[in-house]
């Protein structure tokens, strides 16, 4: 299970704030958290390789190999090529570590053997080793595989890829509260997602003849697939209203309009019409959070490593030293 980003951030702040040592802004935290997650993620593969060469156990919960595999299995993907052109299949766009490729044109999709150009030429010269749909080979260059034998009419789904993707950047999403404080936004980040709980302020047509009160108005929108999108309205005068997003829905893009149906904000009221701005979306604001994707068994290491970097930022050698000692002890225990 992934680590909650808010848990890590609040823990880090609690430790840092002891004796008023310093403070880590959400922006700094997001940078450090992403960096630390990548570090831990990359170490999985080094550790995995090391464990493979060590004596193993089959006892459940005791196998280091099984444990480390469990750590990175969430990043495993299996998809088709992202593109095809001139006998070459482009790898998936989020590929980080290549695992294997499979040839869908062979019986039961056999694995494609990746070879160098030299090996390919050598193999082509051997009558016994001619590549076929059931024994395909490929060269892998410039993020593309060229599979032999060629497909008569190639399409991206001819090649299926098994690979590890990169973890998503960690993001502690927030908005500024009434006292100027940062308030955590637990909504899962989506670049094209509207800011949940935020107010919409770009009125291209203002409210007219509204009645003071709180409403859950009906509306029309230029987005044909708004999903469960919902808003609430707080009318404070005949022409002033605060529109708050209560459900961000889906499918909105910058420039879409939301028109409150007539009579919804008081008898005889018209408008308002709101046009969405980039700042209304997660990608243009600080709203929306992304948790750590590594499992919660890495939480301690994760916090310690962030603290280590945070110590550098706030120039406190004591924090760096303490975090380093903890980490070393952790590692010594794990690899003993």
């Amino acid at each position: 299970m992934a680590i909650n980003v808010n848990t890590v951030y609040t823990t880090v702040l609690s430790i840092l704030n002891k004796e008023q040592r310093g403070y880590l802004t959400p922006y700094e935290f997001n940078q450090l958290a992403t960096q630390v997650q990548l570090e831990i993620f990359e170490n999985f593969f080094e550790d995995y390789n090391q464990y493979i060469r060590m004596p193993k156990t089959d006892v459940e919960f005791a196998s280091r190999m099984d444990h480390i595999h469990e750590e990175f299995q969430v990043f495993e993907e299996y998809t088709f090529s992202s593109a095809y052109a001139s006998q070459e299949y482009t790898q998936p766009t989020n590929l980080h570590r290549f695992g294997a490729a499979f040839w869908a044109l062979g019986t039961n999709s056999p694995e494609i053997q990746i070879v160098s150009e030299r090996e390919y030429v050598q193999q082509k010269l051997s009558p016994l080793l001619q590549p076929s749909n059931n024994f395909p080979i490929a060269t892998y260059k410039k993020d593309k595989v060229k599979v032999y034998p060629f497909a008569a009419a190639g399409v991206p789904k001819d090649v299926e890829w098994s690979y590890i993707r990169k973890p998503a950047d960690v993001r502690w999403g927030y908005y500024t509260g009434s006292l100027g404080q940062f308030v955590y936004d637990s909504t899962v980040y989506g670049a094209d997602l509207l800011n949940n709980g935020a107010t919409l302020s770009n009125f291209t047509t203002p409210l007219a003849t509204g009645t003071i009160g709180t409403y859950t108005p009906t509306f029309t929108t230029t987005n044909s697939t708004p999903g469960s999108f919902a808003i609430s309205a707080n009318v404070t005068s005949a022409t002033a209203v605060t529109i708050t997003i209560t459900d961000p829905g889906s499918g909105f893009v910058v420039g879409d309009t939301i028109t409150i149906d007539g009579g919804q904000l008081g008898v005889g009221s018209t408008g308002p019409v709101i046009t969405l701005l980039a700042s209304d979306f997660n990608s243009g604001s600080t709203y929306g959070s992304v948790n750590f994707e590594i499992s919660d068994s890495q939480q301690t290491e994760c916090i310690l490593k962030i603290l280590q970097y945070a110590g550098v930022i706030i120039r406190d050698p004591q924090i760096i030293q303490a975090a380093q000692q903890e980490l070393m002890q952790d590692e010594a225990n794990a690899k003993r």
């Binding site: 493979i52 019986t107 056999p110 053997q113 016994l128 080793l129 024994f135």
Partner: protein
């Protein structure tokens, strides 16, 4: 899960029947044999499609794509119509008995799963290496372990020679067939041979050359003389020789003649002889075989065509052991005791395969030995 992947109907009758459901036009064949459509200059169809017992016409009434037949045009069925996909007889024959074999592809896949990987003797190997050793193994097994199933029935033309089969590696037996269909073995002979080159000589016996400086080739006089030879002069046979193996064909000639002593058994037979003419890539036969029906049994290497690439299950373990040994033996730093262990395993598995495939059945032994002053208990 059982290994049989097709229904009794698909195997025995070579067909799959469907009762059309509402709006169904696509019928997928799930048997082991892949359906092949007629493509001009490429292939002939290996199946037919019937709707309510009426044969449909390809292209206009149905199409084929990846073993799925789609009825089109006037042939689009209605709910409850009976649609049958039926393999042609020769295709059914090719599939009969297929369970006694395992394909080379399956052998390689099985090997990769069972013998290669972490904590195994072969932690990592290229699939192409396994394929190479599997194919080499199949070749070697074809030469001396597997049953020889390749044969051709041919009539010897007046030229007394026939072309060596396309996938020929070596011959097993050549036989003349008599009127009863009984085989009479034709032996290779050392009485003559087919010269590989026949240079035309000048008066001094020196080979002559053409304008390219190459020796001019003539026709072989040895071949001509052998082709026109009276075999009876070599075998000592009478002209009205009997050619029939019928046990009731007990004519006066057979009783009275042929009792000659002191003959050379190698030449005293009337079945005829053959030689291999390497220059022309043909089998050449003695003149008494002109117009005769013969059966040529031969071995190939098992790799000539795709459907040949299979191993009898009796020899499945032997091919695994062959691949394992070949890979281990060609690895650097592999302890010799492991190589030797697999060498022994391979040899034992191969010996077992040979015994199994030699079809030695006790009942047949007993039958052969009966009435021969031997008591066989069983």
């Amino acid at each position: 899960m059982g290994l049989l992947t097709e229904t009794n109907e698909q195997y025995y009758a070579g067909q799959q029947s469907f009762t059309t459901t509402p709006a169904q036009v696509k019928f997928t064949w799930t048997g082991d044999t892949n359906l092949v459509a007629t493509v001009t200059g490429v292939s002939y169809a290996n199946f037919e499609v019937y709707k309510n017992g009426v044969l449909l016409t390809p292209t206009t009434e149905y199409t084929l794509s990846e073993n799925a037949v789609t009825l089109i045009g006037a042939a689009i069925p209605t709910t409850g119509d009976a649609v049958v996909i039926k393999l042609l007889t020769s295709t059914v024959w090719a599939n009969n008995g297929s369970y006694s074999y395992i394909s080379l592809t399956d052998v390689i896949n099985n090997f990769m799963v069972a013998y290669v990987g972490m904590d195994k003797l072969i932690p990592r190997v290229k699939r192409s290496d396994v394929m190479f050793h599997a194919k080499r193994g199949l070749q070697e097994f074809s030469y001396d372990t597997l049953k020889s199933i390749k044969s051709q029935e041919l009539t010897i033309p007046p030229s007394l020679s026939i072309i060596i089969p396309q996938d020929y590696v070596n011959y097993v037996e050549m036989s003349r067939i008599d009127d009863l269909g009984v085989k009479h073995v034709i032996y290779p002979t050392t009485l003559t041979s087919n010269p590989y080159t026949v240079p035309v000589q000048d008066a001094n016996g020196v080979p002559t050359q053409n304008d390219l400086g190459e020796n001019i080739e003539g026709t072989s006089q040895t071949d001509e003389r052998w082709d026109t030879a009276n075999d009876n002069l070599l075998t000592g046979a009478y002209d009205n020789e009997m050619y029939n193996a019928g046990v009731y064909n007990w004519t006066w000639d057979k009783v009275a003649y042929g009792r000659r002593y002191g003959l050379d058994p190698e030449t005293s037979q009337t079945n005829g002889w053959f030689t291999i003419n390497d220059r022309e890539g043909k089998f050449s036969f003695s003149s008494n075989l002109a117009g005769q029906l013969i059966i040529l049994e031969y071995i190939s290497d098992g790799l000539s065509v795709d459907y040949d690439m299979k191993i009898p299950k009796m020899a499945e373990e032997a091919i695994y052991m062959h691949i394992a040994y070949s890979i281990l033996a060609s690895r650097v730093n592999m302890p010799e005791y492991i190589v030797q262990r697999y060498k022994k395993d391979r040899r034992a598995a191969l010996r077992n395969a040979k015994i199994r495939l030699s079809e030695i059945k006790l009942n047949q032994f007993v039958q052969v030995m009966r009435n021969k002053s031997k008591w066989i208990k069983h």
